[in-house]
């Protein structure tokens, strides 16, 4: 069943390359394994959830807060919908076992299975009928919690695509959060935003100098920069902010800006187009990186340097300069991620306020296979898991769920996803390898 397709790809302006894509068919054992896993997920939904569900119908509320146009809440027959979702999942699994989906189709099947399971699960959670399931709020909180993660993973992507490991996202975010709060209070939140980006860029430059010029082990370097950021911002917090919060640590928070027309679409509008400037910047950054990485001269060179710096050098690309530029830009984006926490959200800094989100962003980058879309998806997934954890704990679910188990949810889901859906993960070949000319 090998498929063969020809594609014209413009790798740089004016340079069109014809790619012959040959899809190698999946081995039967892998095909059946994946199919069986999907069937098991379907069985969990249909049998486990279907059986333990309460007797009430589930009420869904798709409206988030702050929506002008609302859609009415609606009820669905709980058990019926759960079993229906489960049956469809099982059917998809059976098709996979019998004849197998193509590689691209399988990806959509995976997404469909995940969505169906989530629908079944949310329906199940609401079958006690006491509260409605606030889907709108759940999605809003997902985007809210995912925004710093998305920016953080883009920061990591900028560095790692060009061959420098960035374990210091956490520290760069912390610097950005601090600078945003401090300068946002002293001057204005716009200057706070600028300061966060600049300070983040400086932290990126620190990483760049030691990693590129002094060829220090990049993982150790990242850990050291994180300790440095935690120590320095903690010290400055004690020295500057703790005793005079009013004039140093109370920045104005960016207000949501509603985009005309788009913001008026029910459900989606208030979710995506009634956001702060930082969230809009995040949209732009993700799109720009995604497009540029595959379709610009800069993107081609960045990938070349990340995969095979020697070859890139041979054709006249300045490897070190490109690495410097990308790592510093990455730091700027991480600084913006930090600003999203202070001036984009809570309006004050506290010690260690990033609380490990930089590491989650790094995990999202790896989970997303070092691609912009993958990292975006993984960050949203982590944000969703975190928001879902809260939403579930507030609902009277048919079966009581241990809060510690809920805390585990994002990580548990990651293990399943990495094991089942992603398959082999490959970093840029020269990731973490210092380039020494000669």
């Amino acid at each position: 069943m090998s498929q063969h397709s020809v594609e014209q790809v413009e790798v740089a302006p004016g340079e069109v390359v014809t790619q012959h894509l040959v899809e190698v068919p999946m081995s039967p054992s892998r095909r059946i394994g994946i199919g069986a896993a999907i069937v098991v997920i379907g069985l969990i939904a249909a049998v486990l959830l279907g059986k333990s569900a309460g007797s009430s119908s589930t009420r869904f509320d798709l409206n988030g807060s702050g929506a002008d146009l609302t859609v009415p809440t609606f009820s669905v027959p709980g058990t019926g919908l759960i079993i229906a979702c489960g049956v469809v999942i099982i059917a998809l699994g059976v098709v996979q076992i019998v004849r197998g989906f193509g590689k691209r189709a399988l990806r959509y099947v995976g997404i469909a299975v995940a969505l169906l399971f989530i629908v079944a699960f949310l329906t199940w959670a609401g079958t006690e009928g006491k509260q409605s399931v606030q889907v709108g709020s759940l999605l809003q909180q997902t985007l809210f919690l995912a925004t710093p993660l998305i920016l953080g993973s883009m920061a990591g992507l900028m560095c790692e695509k060009t061959g420098v490991i960035n374990v210091a996202i956490e520290g760069q975010m912390l610097f950005g959060a601090f600078a945003g709060a401090l300068f946002g209070t002293i001057a204005s939140n716009w200057l706070g935003l600028l300061a966060a980006v600049i300070i983040g860029g400086l932290a990126g430059a620190l990483l760049a100098v030691f990693a590129i010029k002094f060829t220090v082990n990049q993982v150790i370097l990242g850990v050291v920069i994180n300790a440095f950021a935690l120590g320095l911002t903690g010290y400055l917090y004690d020295a500057v902010m703790a005793n005079d919060a009013t004039s140093t640590n109370q920045p104005a928070v960016f207000n949501p800006i509603k985009i005309p027309l788009l913001g008026d679409i029910p459900v989606v509008g208030s979710l995506l187009f009634n956001q702060t400037i930082i969230t809009y910047l995040m949209y732009v950054i993700v799109i720009v990186i995604d497009v540029m990485l595959l379709r610009s001269r800069w993107g081609l060179r960045t990938r070349a340097v990340g995969e095979h710096p020697k070859a890139a050098d041979t054709v006249g690309i300045n490897v070190l300069r490109l690495r410097y530029r990308n790592v510093i830009l990455g730091g700027c984006i991480a600084g913006l991620a930090g600003a999203a926490l202070t001036i984009g959200s809570v309006g004050q800094f506290n010690k260690n306020m990033t609380s490990g989100q930089g590491f989650i962003a790094l995990a999202a980058l790896i989970f997303g296979r070092w691609t912009p879309r993958g990292a975006l998806g993984a960050s949203i997934f982590f944000g969703f898991a975190s928001a879902l954890q809260t939403a579930l704990s507030l609902l009277a679910t048919p079966v009581k769920i241990d809060s510690n188990l809920l805390q585990m949810l994002p990580y548990l889901a990651t293990i399943f996803a990495v094991a089942g859906l992603v398959g082999r993960v490959r970093a840029p070949a020269a990731d973490g390898e210092p380039y020494v000319k000669g």
Partner: protein, 367 residues
Amino acid sequence: MRPVIKIAAVGAVAAMALAGCGSKPAENNAGGGSGTGGAQGSASGKKISACMVLDTGGVDDKSFNENSWAGMQAASKANPNITVKYVPSNSGSDYTPNLTKYAQGGCDTVIGVGGLMGDAMKKAAQQFPKVHFAEIDNSGQGMPNMYGIEYNTAQAGFLAGYLAAGMSKSGTVGTWGGLSIPPVTIYMDGFWEGVQYYNKQKSKSVKVLGWNEKNQKGGTFSGSFTDQNKGKSITQAMVSQGADIVFPVAGASGLGAGAAAAASAGKLNLIWVDTDGCESAANYCKYFISSATKNLSGGVETYLKAAADGTFPTGNYVGTLKDDGVGLAPYHNFDGKVPADLKKEIDQVKADIISGKIKVTSPSQPK
């Protein structure tokens, strides 16, 4: 490669040194001996040196470290014969070295702040039987030379719950914590009980989101005491389920609830925890109906007073509503908004808890 390694090492050392700076100077003397500034108090009893080992938050954490240290300063001010000093801990691994240093360094009593120090305190108490130890938020652990300073914060939470139920317009209130550990959930237990008591008295059905004392394994937690963003998210999720009053028990993570209140345009109000929110998180004062407090400084001061008067107390002190060890902070901005009847009822509930007429049932209460 040699110089590279050197540079990396220097960088690492510099980073560690700065990380160490994170919690203020290593040691501090304050209060001083008689004559240096304790003009208000009069020296009485014997001279004692009291030394405090702080936890990782630092002396100006606006929470338990700061309040515990305030108790030391107050005792020293009232009685100049009490000399006080403190040392912060940068991490859990500093507990034992700090305790040992003070126990060997001529301190008559060493006070540890925070229940996390329990094991290290017990070992130190065994090693230095002549030094008197005291630990805040933990029992004396049966040691003859160790005193436990504990608080039954379920009682304060109870009042907060009753107040929240009485003030809620939507009929739904919420509480969430940092981690699912007894010092946190005891407040949430009390809060839940307070709401249930209100419902019983008034035949109402105010709902509590985020915690149920009957299901100690459930509940809503941010998983952190530092992640404000998650705190804001949780609080907003509670608002979407109808809550109009939220009681966060999560240190700095709880400040995120303040941001959620600020963004809610007056729909959401809060009750703060541990300290009077209008002092410790003054920027959010206008959203705080009140605070469920524990009087750490009072506990420390009373202990030192007794010690200076001649005998180091042993066993446990449990702060309760009765001795104002725990309580409800002033209403501040809400003074005019809380109905007089509700205030009266809360005073009555307080009296009933003290007299034992109302039984607080939280399983996390200190014995």
